[in-house]
Structure formats: structure tokens, C-alpha cells
Symmetry: C2
Subunit: 270 residues, 2 copies
């Protein structure tokens, strides 16, 4: 994905409903970072009914990588709780199709893939806590550098549920060392958006040997006096698809999220 | 249930594991309030696989009455996450068997009812936040009066998921008016144990016409200067069994909970 994708788009509408319509019509096909500021964006995972109960139990056991915001019943493609009137088959700019653990296509809409036995899961996304960090004066390197956040596969195992198992994927943000406590406090308020960090400092302790080689997204500069801080990441289900091999799994493409009507504040704990 | 059930039992063990063994052997058949202080107790709901996905989606949509602590896969009866070595068929002092929405039995163990297609759900319980209220100097009338907490069916509808729907059941505790804010703050810290109140004051506003007639548990005295405060209640799934009529549903009996190895503090948000 090119540079400049995080630049402001002054001509774009700012309400979730209008943005979803723009994406549905194919007029916006890019990443969603920075769109509809203040509104919750979500990771998407769609699975056949046969795998849905296992995945739901997986989410319950692993709420840091998989914080459930909405589960949409078999056959329905409207996220009726968090985005009434939405259509999950068309309202994301880009989707990945996994079959038996392999990406077989990356597509702009999934009406051709839709089946009546599909169950859809919407999971909280780090954009929510990133806004809160920025409001608190903690600037984020990947945004400064117009990159996708750095993501790494760790040696931390998720808690298995049925067919689903695999390593935890984390995102990393360099934080000035005198802001680390504040970053923990702020992100702790958003358990539905991955919550508090899973690790602070030494990458080797969680099986990451080289921060300059990210498994997903882009590597970013770490400056003198900054500490790498690691949060559970919504890409974990995609990584898990490779280990767990469900017959079919449809997800968002990296950075191309579902824009909901929820406000970031709706996800904050008191 | 008789008076005196909340009296201290000085001869009882205080660790969850020993208590579960005592209950398993049939030596303790009474309610669990006050047992294993400091440890999390849980509501139980067991359903056949055909209804389990709907119920899990119901819990995700209605986390205040149904805060999931653990989901045990089809066929397993060990709550491996929160109580390794436990046996959900024997480790509660009393169970209710519902068939098609009717209670058909109340029994001390359920090995005869066990089937390989059953999925078990453990939900947080108000005992956790009650301990926190007491530690903060808020005394609880039903404990003073050695009664079961007052519970009422409201006119608030839960959010339907598949076959599961029905009214929210709440528990009510009279709180001195200058302690209401504190009670909100304290219980907000325990979303996994029903969390903050759903309503403060006027019972009619949520469809309760007479506080002296509780639908479950016992009515308690409300004194001058006290406000009735209402929390979502773990009896909601039992009430829902009546409206939703799953072919089989097994729950704990009122007040006869599952004692886990989790500490109350494990459920507290930061």
C-alpha cells in the first residue's frame, strides 16, 4: 500500500452511513484509517456455521486479540447492532478470502461468496485506542511515517477452542519512556479495542527477534528513549486461519476496516 | 429456603477445590453464599449444541445479565480455564432441569442427564460485586435479613439472538441515598459480574409495580432514605428458558452456584 494513504481526504463525508454508502458503490477502495474520526472501526471475520461456535468460544477465551463487538447470525449480513442498514458483503473496501488456510482472493466485495450458513464476527480495532493516545499527546510513529502499523507473530500461544489455535499477533508502537504508563492507562480503558498492552520492552521475551522485520504492516523508526510497546492485534484470526484451516474464512484486508455507527466513547469502560 | 443459610460455617474448608470436593461428595447441599470468600462464583447454563451458538450470541449481545466467564466445549464437563479438575456434573450443590421451558426436576447432580452434545456456560455472579460493596462499607439488606436477594422480571427486553429472547431479570438492593454514587462506581469495576446498575430509583419505570412481591428470591425491607438500585441478574437465562423453550437446559438452582478458582480481583477492570 502506497504512502499518503493517511492524508486527510477533505472531500470525503464524515458520517459512517455516508462512508459505507461510498464504499458500497465502489467510490472508495482504500484503507479506512482516518475516516469517520470518532467512530469505531471493526475487524471482520466470517465463517461457516460449522466453525462459528468454535470461533465464538475462541473469542471468549482470547478477548485481547478478539474483542467481540457484534456477532451477526447465520445468513444475515447486516450488522444490526452497531450499524443498522449496513451490508457486510459490500461495505468494506477490501476483503480476503481464505480457503483451508490459504488466501485465494483479495476482492472489493463478497456477494459472490455469500452463503446462507455464514456467521459474521466484528471485532474491535486499535484505531479506537490510537485516537485516545493521540488526544493524550502521544504521537504514533506509523501515522507520522504514513505507514501501516508494525505487526509481529509472537511465541505467545492463544487459548485453543475447537479447531482454532495459533500464535498471538501483536502490533507495536514506539512510546517515549516517560509516556509508557500513560499509554497503559489510556488503552486499559478500551478492552473492546484490544485494551492494555500485552508486553512492554524487550521484544525477544515474546519471540520477536528483529523489529525491523515485521510480519504484517511496515517496520517503523524507533528513536532513542523510546520503548517498543506491544498490543494484541486483530490480525490474529487471519494468522490463525493459516494454522486452523477452516474450509472458508472471509476477513477484511489489512487496514480496510468496517466503519460502524458506534462512537469510540461507547467502548470506553468507566 | 430457610433462615440461617448465610451463617458462617466455621467447619467448612475455604479453598475452592476443597469446597468443590465436599459438594461433589454430597456433604454440602446448601446455597453457596459466603463460601470461599474472595473467590468468584458463577451461574451455570448447559445447552445442547443445537442451541449453543444462539445462546453464545445472546450472551455477547446481553453482557449485563449474561457476562461470560467460561464456555466449555461440547461434551466436556471440566471448567478447565477457571477451575481445573472440576466436574460441572457434580460440583454444584443443586441443579434445575428445564425441558421445553418447564422445570422438570431439581437435583443434586446431573450425571444421569449428561450427554456428549452439551455445551456449558459459566456466567459471572453478583456475589463478586457484593463483596466489593461490603468492603466499601455498603451493607446489604438481604444479607442482614438472611434472605435471598430480591429479583424481579422487568419490562426491559433483552436483545434477541436466534431462539433466545425474553425480559431482563434484575436484582434489587436498597442503598442509602448518599451511597448510590459509590455503589455505581464500585460495581462498574466488575462488568464480568453484571457491572453497573441498569436502573436507580422508581421501580415503575422498569415495569416493577410492587417491590414487596419479588418474582424470585425474597422481598426485603426498604428503609427511609434508601433508594432501590437494580442490577442485571444471572437468573435472566432461567426466565428466558420459559419464553425460548430449548429442548433441554440445565442451570444451577437459585443461590447454589459454581465455586471457581478465580479471585474476585481477577474480574476487576483497571
Amino acid at each position: 500500500m502506497g504512502k499518503g494513504i493517511f492524508l486527510k481526504q477533505p472531500s470525503l463525508p464524515e458520517t459512517p452511513d455516508e462512508l459505507r454508502r461510498l464504499i458500497r458503490s465502489g467510490e472508495w477502495t482504500g484503507p479506512t484509517s482516518g475516516l469517520a474520526p470518532g467512530y469505531v472501526q471493526a475487524n471482520l471475520a466470517i465463517l461457516p456455521r460449522e466453525a462459528a461456535l468454535d470461533f465464538l468460544i475462541f473469542c471468549q477465551r482470547n478477548p485481547k486479540p478478539c474483542p467481540l463487538i457484534e456477532v451477526v447470525e447465520e445468513g444475515s449480513y447486516e450488522a444490526a447492532q452497531i450499524a443498522p442498514g449496513s451490508d457486510l458483503r459490500t461495505d468494506l473496501p477490501s476483503y480476503r478470502i481464505f480457503r483451508n488456510g490459504k488466501i485465494v482472493a483479495e476482492v472489493g466485495e463478497i456477494t459472490a461468496y455469500w452463503r446462507d450458513d455464514l456467521v459474521s464476527f466484528l471485532l474491535g480495532c486499535s484505531f479506537t485506542f490510537e485516537s485516545a493516545l493521540i488526544r493524550a499527546g502521544i504521537s504514533l510513529r506509523h501515522i507520522e511515517e504514513a505507514k501501516i502499523v508494525s505487526m509481529y507473530v509472537t511465541n505467545i500461544q492463544t487459548i485453543r477452542a475447537g479447531i482454532f489455535f495459533g500464535p498471538l499477533v501483536v502490533s507495536m508502537r514506539p512510546i517515549p519512556k516517560d509516556m509508557v504508563v500513560k499509554a497503559v492507562q489510556i488503552t486499559s480503558r478500551f478492552p473492546a479495542a484490544h485494551g492494555a498492552p500485552v508486553h512492554i520492552g524487550e521484544p525477544e521475551a515474546i519471540g520477536i527477534n528483529d523489529l525491523s522485520k515485521s510480519d504484517y504492516g511496515d517496520a517503523v523508526t524507533i528513536k532513542e528513549g523510546e520503548v517498543p510497546v506491544f498490543w494484541a492485534c486483530g490480525v490474529t484470526p487471519q494468522a490463525m486461519s493459516i494454522t486452523s484451516r477452516p474450509s472458508l474464512m472471509i476477513t477484511h484486508s489489512l487496514g480496510h476496516m468496517f466503519i460502524s455507527d458506534l462512537l469510540d466513547g461507547d467502548l470506553a469502560v468507566t
